[in-house]
Symmetry: C2
Subunit: 405 residues, 2 copies
């Protein structure tokens, strides 16, 4: 998405708060477009892109499947989990005659009653499969038929996380228990959970965080019950959390079975473990069409990230940003609360949604584009080149606006 909240523009040059930065790292690479087309032999576009995508593959994942957008990435990741699950059930034997005839008319066993477990507040897209795992807004869901799939509570934590570690650990334990209960319940219902899908930080749902420990335990529960574990990094991937993938913060070398991503990497798609490779070609269809410039774009973006140590920069700016937000919420206790973030992927809650919306308008008038998320949160989504001094410029402007409330 390229909505206003996906870039936070603020600047410190000739006309502070008016000039916009080229904050999108994609912009840095547009120059290489023209030569690229001449250099690269057209035949190996997909291979080449796969090559550069694999250079940033999550730990334990050796395969990548490109897709056109975040929705088809998740839809196809779900399909890969369903196929994997059924192949596991069948063992050596191929699909039965009954599998084959029943699937053509949408019936079991060919179209099995499998489910994907998702979380309250999740957003994974708006096509019917994705939508069955999305639970962020009524307006997205109302009147659209869905699947009877299990929905577990996402931990509702208190921030700053470190200050409430005991309470938060309890809340996370409650949610994990519920996950196991649901897996058992849905298996008994005859709708086994083929996969669990989760965002490392729930974005649309209001920037909800959970601890590394929570995700690692969740991944273990998935493995214990034979469910695939799918981490949706459509919002969080690409470096904004201070690591290339948000799940790297968990410190696990086996974080997931599937990791999906979106166009921030110039193509959507998903990484997966060897085991989740579809057993036959064309079961998962690649809608991505070769474009010679995409591979060089991506290589260049990755080069810029490495050369300019952008992930370290993000970590540094993120620290300045969250500390600034802590200070502001201490200064305006009735107005602001629950400042939270990882890298520059930050958010803060406002008293109520009307006040939140007014603050967004006033900061925009001063040249800073912020976005809303959840019921009454403000979210920060600066691009990777947002430096510490931009943070301070922004915090000054934000403070100016807040004094008016």
């Amino acid at each position: 998405m390229l909505d206003a909240s996906s870039t936070l523009s603020s600047s410190g040059y000739n006309h502070p708060a008016l000039l916009k930065l080229m904050t999108n790292p994609n912009n840095l690479s547009t120059f290489v477009n023209r030569p690229a087309l001449g250099i690269l032999p057209p035949e190996n576009f997909p291979d080449k892109l796969t090559e550069s995508l694999l250079s940033i593959a999550p730990s334990g994942m050796s395969r990548v499947q490109t897709m056109a957008c975040g929705s088809c990435s998740n839809e196809n990741a779900y399909k890969a989990m369903f196929i994997w699950y059924r192949n596991k059930e069948r063992g050596q034997s191929g699909p039965s005659a009954e599998d084959i005839s029943s699937c053509m008319v949408n019936q079991g066993p060919g179209c099995p009653d499998l489910s994907i477990l998702s979380f309250t507040g999740a957003f994974h897209g708006r096509t019917l499969g994705c939508l069955a795992t999305t639970h962020s807004k009524v307006i997205h869901k109302l009147d659209v038929p869905s699947f009877d799939w299990p929905i577990a509570p996402f931990p509702r934590l208190q921030y700053p996380l470190e200050e409430f570690s005991r309470e938060n650990a309890q809340e996370e334990a409650r949610c994990l228990e519920e996950v196991e209960d649901l897996i058992v319940k849905w298996r008994q219902k005859g709708k086994p959970v083929a996969g669990i899908v989760i965002e490392p930080i729930q974005a649309e749902g209001g920037d909800n965080h959970a601890s590394a420990d929570f995700f690692i335990r969740l991944r273990r529960i998935a493995a214990k019950h034979g469910c695939a574990f799918h981490v949706d990094e459509v919002q969080t991937g690409g470096g904004c959390t201070g690591k290339f993938w948000a799940h790297e913060h968990w410190g696990s070398d086996d974080p997931a079975d599937i990791v999906s991503f979106s166009k921030k990497l110039l193509t959507g798609g998903y990484y997966h473990k060897e085991a989740l490779q579809a057993d036959k070609p064309y079961r998962i269809f690649n809608t991505w069409m070769g474009d010679p410039s995409k591979n060089l774009f991506l290589c260049e973006v990755l080069n810029v990230i490495r050369r300019e140590n952008l992930l370290e920069e993000v970590a540094r700016s993120g620290k300045a940003l969250i500390n600034g937000l802590y200070e502001l919420q201490a200064q305006y206790p009735g107005l602001l609360s629950r400042a939270r973030g990882q890298g520059t992927f930050c958010a803060i809650d406002v008293r109520d949604d009307a006040t939140r919306d007014k603050i967004l308008v006033k900061t925009r008038d001063k040249g800073v584009i912020l976005g809303g998320c959840g019921d009454r949160s403000i979210r920060f989504r600066p691009a990777l080149v947002f430096k510490e001094y931009h943070v301070h410029l922004f915090l000054n402007i934000f403070n100016d606006v807040l004094t008016q409330f």
Copy 2:
């Protein structure tokens, strides 16, 4: 799709059967790309694109919603039909408290048990919603959970249609009767049919045609039972049938409630009647991102089509092509059968799939790229600038290949 079968390359210049034509009408417009970016004020991209899309709107449809690909076009068209159907049921009253709370957990009445009626052999895409209406290949469907939605038989006609009009009329009547039965049955099951979706020519399913009368009666049945009527022109739209939309051949001024299209028009999307406008913004979300060049591209493509009378050309080449195929199947009765087509959107069946595949390889060796569809059909999908003399060149090459069997 840009698969091999979507362009039929053959040429008659210096190196017949080796040179490829720039047969894709999109190519004609690539020249205007650069100036476009400078001329068009960025603010009205979406409006501008809508303007040119509306200049080719199907009869009775005043609205267009742009989308990124064929799958999201159909997924969102289905959502529009579900929302329309539920609003009709609710009348003046808004969603109930129960609607709102239940939809967040995938349950009724908020996520209602509504269905879309589709046809055997149909292909409408591969995301989970689309896939529930796709019935062309086992490999697409196997192991993926689906909805219990009704599937009616698509008429299995005899070709040439004119020669078997009595038999075909009987077969179509049988299918229409089945449609009405299914609508009643699914209503009784508590899964009312909100919409009927159909291709004007079933493409992936093997190039299956039906008469104008069949579609008009089907549309009437939809109206009689309060179901929306959705014509999927993802494959057939854009002029290949000799009219811009294949449904224009039906001669109806009220052909449908929704018509979906794909990237052939540089963007995907769907047209719809006023009544199917979502009642609130953001219920149908537009993933299309403004690109200034797209509108000019589309205008230019439409200009070329008009200026060069390409639709008439297609009708003329199509006639030459189908007549040539009739002659070949008379000449090779054991090998070829069921030649059929509209415009240059033609197909012919081969004895068996192994022979079909061999013919495809041999014609490719001679520089003509054809595609397979269905079990043992060969399909023709030349671009709009494929002229009558290309047809004759092609038929000669094809004949050369066939003599070897």
